[in-house]
């Protein structure tokens, strides 16, 4: 078996959980559940857990949408790291990023796809950046430079 630890699973991290799942909407709920449970145990403030749930859900929904369109057989990966003072999440997809990621919010009502009522994936990212103080989006995390890593973190009291 090859190593199951991607690069962002850094050595020395104390408590780390990684979830990978096929690109199905139902699994986004599992990801939210796991993220909230691990965040709670890591000492993230109770009042912020809903925010963790929502932000992780947005990142995973975006990844699942893109995978279903471009690479339905590849898994989406969520890494949860309980560092001292901070709880870190990375959501990694392996799909080519849509131009839609860059689309603004102003015209959401215009841009929503009436066929499927899909909002552009950029809206999910915008929700995350509106909710989470510390977040970043890196390109090229997947094989062949495809995909994106959405990183988020929250302070912990533990």
């Amino acid at each position: 078996m090859t190593s199951i630890l991607p690069n962002h699973f850094r050595k020395g991290d104390v408590a780390t959980v990684e979830l990978s799942f096929s690109a199905l909407p139902a699994h986004v709920r599992t990801a939210r559940l796991v993220a909230a449970a691990v965040a709670r145990r890591s000492g993230v403030d109770e009042a912020v857990l809903d925010e963790v749930r929502l932000a992780v859900g947005e990142a995973c929904s975006r990844a699942v949408h893109l995978h279903r369109r471009h690479c339905p057989d590849l898994p989406v990966t969520v890494t949860l790291i309980d560092d001292p003072q901070v709880f870190r999440v990375a959501v990694t997809d392996q799909a080519p990023s849509d131009d839609a990621d860059a689309s603004g919010l102003e015209d959401l009502a215009e841009s929503a796809d009436l066929e499927l009522d899909l909002v552009p994936p950029g809206v999910g990212l915008a929700v995350i950046s509106g909710l989470v103080d510390d977040m970043s989006v890196e390109q090229g995390a997947g094989a062949g430079g495809q995909g994106v890593v959405v990183r988020m973190s929250w302070p912990t009291s533990a």
Binding site: P25, V28, R53, L54, S61, L108, A109, D117, V123, V127
Partner: protein
């Protein structure tokens, strides 16, 4: 928690009461409900979100889609929501400018364009 949906009419308004989680998993059911109502000639919708525990951008997409559909028939889609954490999502995404948001079903039902 799962999605719950119930509808009733008051005059020419149709009230859709939504409960539980509107997310990537359940949003298709809300979408279906809104599409059915419009197909049924109901063009003035009030979506009561007071019992919604969770809303993500997939849910927003369905609401925006519903708004477009009723507008195509000169209709309206009004939201009822006083929950701060849900309102925050509408604010972040700029949708407070797109949806009329009311603090009670009565207020929404009696509102005029």
């Amino acid at each position: 928690m799962d999605l719950s949906l119930s509808t009733r009419t008051e005059g020419d308004r149709t009230i859709v009461e939504v409960g539980g989680e509107i997310d990537v998993y359940t949003a298709p059911r809300l979408r279906e409900q809104l599409v059915d109502l419009v197909a049924d000639g109901k063009y003035h919708l009030v979506v009561d979100m007071e019992r919604v525990d969770f809303l993500d951008s997939t849910g927003l997409g369905v609401l925006v889609g519903g708004l477009k559909r009723v507008r195509a028939h000169d209709g309206s889609l009004r939201l009822v929501c006083t929950q701060e954490r849900i309102l925050k999502i509408f604010r972040i995404t700029g949708l407070t400018k797109v949806f009329p948001i009311h603090s009670s079903v009565d207020e929404a039902v009696s509102a005029t364009e």
